[in-house]
Amino acid sequence: MTTKLLAPGGNLEMAVGVLERGADAVYVGARGWSRRTENYEMSSKDIKTLAQYASVHNKEVRVAFNTIASSTEFPLMLKTIEEFNSYGIEGVIMTDPGAMSLIRDRFPDLEIHASAGANIINENDIKFYRAAGATCIVAPCNITMDEIKFIQDDLNLKLEIFLHSNNCFTYLGKCTMSSYIKQDWHIENGKNRFFGSPNRGGHCNRICQIAWESGESSVKMTNDAFLLLNTIPVALRNGVSYLKVQGREYGNSLIFDMISFYREVIDKCKNGENDLSGYLFKLNELSKRRDVERDMRTAGLLKIAKSNSEIKRIEI
């Protein structure tokens, strides 16, 4: 099986740019439905343009519907996916198993990636999500070789591994600390944006990153971003389907450089090169640039969380 590089598309320019720089597939957020704020989601018109571009260049498009909708929003979700399906997208990224089940019934040919937010952490979880309709599973952190073989060989499912993402203190998709501190309901075009809930609206206030007073000391909870390198040859040897770079919310320039970097590394590994030590310096440089952007965004989000105003429009 060919391993594909799956890149983020936080806007149309980023989405086309990563494909030009060697990504095999791009994922974008459907406006109102993805685990990012609307600045990093795309309009129907842009998704249509992207799908046409990808089709001409033999690339793939995934659309993230990975916030958890309210029960009454499912008809709108189905209508929206039907529209994107008509544009020729290859798959969707989802979290809610009930939603996956409906999509599988309605669009049997559509690839369904079970999102990181689905929090799939064991082999029996994987069986459950397969029964719900998932065709591709995001690997749990510290996935074992046995689990990789089980997913791909025994269950015949595709597997996605993150090259760039972050680990929170809590399991992704199961944290409600952000909306405990600040949440606003805001309905736009029939879809509630659930500002403040990363699970439902894509906006996380990152309150775990405040220096919380704990007695005499202060503490921030773990929220480590990572960029992987040595995982790549292992993933290629084991036929992992997708190597994913998370980052719709970062600047285009940084993401373009990350994708060019990973394209080069993957191609080297495919040609039998396993010594990646020569790439460490460049990886560290990318990591530093990523941290600068990430810290600025965290500071902005915390400022909004601390303000008295409703969240509504986010310009960070």
């Binding site: 958890i68 909708a69 309210s70 029960s71 009454t72 499912f74 809610d96 198993p97 009930g98 939603a99 089940s101 409906l102 929090n119 952490i121 064991n122 082999e123 029996n124 979880d125 994987i126 069986k127 459950f128 999500y129 719900a132 749990p140 074992t144 046995d146 689990e147 203190f169 809590t170 399991y171 998709g173 199961k174 944290c175 409600t176 600390m177 909306s179 405990y180 501190i181 600040k182 949440q183 309901w185 403040g196 809930s197 699970n199 439902r200 309150i207 405040i210 220096a211 919380w212 007073e213 704990s214 000391s217 503490v219 909870m221 773990t222 601390k306």
Partner: protein, 291 residues
């Protein structure tokens, strides 16, 4: 009407603690290392025996975030528990659903249930009752209730997530045994915000309190109520459950109940997310202002 809570260990499964409850979820699903945790199989027979002798229902609460390796011990535990006179299992992980062969299943808090569509799916796997994700508003829970029985939380510190590592040991770098470290929550403060942590789960600083709204919940035909009680003592369990019992039976009024419950709360009360607001706020039914 049914009132339920979790009791982590046989030691804390006292007559005083559980006398006002109808259903006990045995164990603490957040951490298998919690000393004496019934969820890990400690004293399971004794715990079931004690609850059953008092004529109450009991469900074994299973570890919420098992990795593949955990299934070895969990399958043995489930097999053993299925032979005991428990009423069923509380399951927080989708992967565990298929392992329950002959008992009732209640989907617990960490299963992350947000939609009626997922509730319908869980029913196909033998689930009879679900715990709605705390982020849901009442009007959203009403929709899910058309599909499946609801466990409705009404009081206590709301768990706000779950982790696979320990806040005390891995984040605060505290030294000591689990017996010492895990006795009480660690409280965190930032201006008016209050959070807590019980080891592998952050919890709300402010306590959920739905006493003012009990008559509305009963009118809406909610029947299965739940009090969060991780790391709380028997005095809390006895007092909080007694207040809700008296309130439901019309022996006390709502304002009196709220006052009494606020005295049990370390930092104050909240309504959680039920009224579409930030989880830490309290909206009073009477004056629509925070208490």
């Amino acid at each position: 009407m049914e009132l339920a809570t979790h009791i982590a260990t046989v030691k804390t499964l006292t007559d005083r603690a559980i006398k006002n409850f109808d259903t006990i979820y045995l164990g603490d699903p957040t951490c298998p290392k919690f000393p004496g945790n019934i969820s890990s199989g400690n004293d399971l027979d004794r715990a079931v025996d004690r609850v059953k002798k008092l004529g109450k229902k009991c469900y074994l609460s299973l570890y919420a975030v098992p990795r593949t390796d955990d299934f070895k011990w969990m399958e043995t535990l489930i097999e053993k528990a299925e032979k005991l006179p428990i009423d069923g299992f509380e399951v927080h992980n989708m992967g565990l659903l298929r392992l329950i062969k002959s008992k009732d299943i209640h989907a617990g808090l960490f299963i992350n249930l947000y939609t009626k569509q997922t509730a319908d799916l869980l029913k196909q796997f033998g689930t009879s009752r679900v715990f709605p994700n705390p982020e849901l508003a009442l009007e959203e829970i009403d929709i899910i209730k058309k599909s499946v029985q609801i466990t409705m939380p009404i009081n206590g510190n709301i768990p706000l997530g779950i982790s696979d590592h320990c806040f005390f040991i891995d984040e605060l770098k505290m030294e000591g045994s689990c017996e010492t470290l895990c006795r009480t929550p660690k409280w965190l403060k930032q201006d008016e915000w209050q959070l807590g942590n019980i080891g592998r789960a952050p919890i709300s600083g402010y306590e959920l309190c739905m006493a003012e709204y009990m008559s509305d919940l009963l009118k809406s035909n909610y029947q299965f109520f739940y009090i969060y009680s991780f790391r709380r003592d028997e005095v809390y369990l006895e007092t909080a459950s007694s207040i809700y019992r008296d309130l439901i039976e019309g022996k006390i009024d709502e304002i009196y109940a709220v006052r009494e419950l606020s005295m049990l709360a370390k930092f104050g009360l909240c309504n959680g997310y039920f009224f579409k607001q930030s989880g830490y706020k309290y909206i009073s039914k009477r004056n629509k202002e925070a208490i």
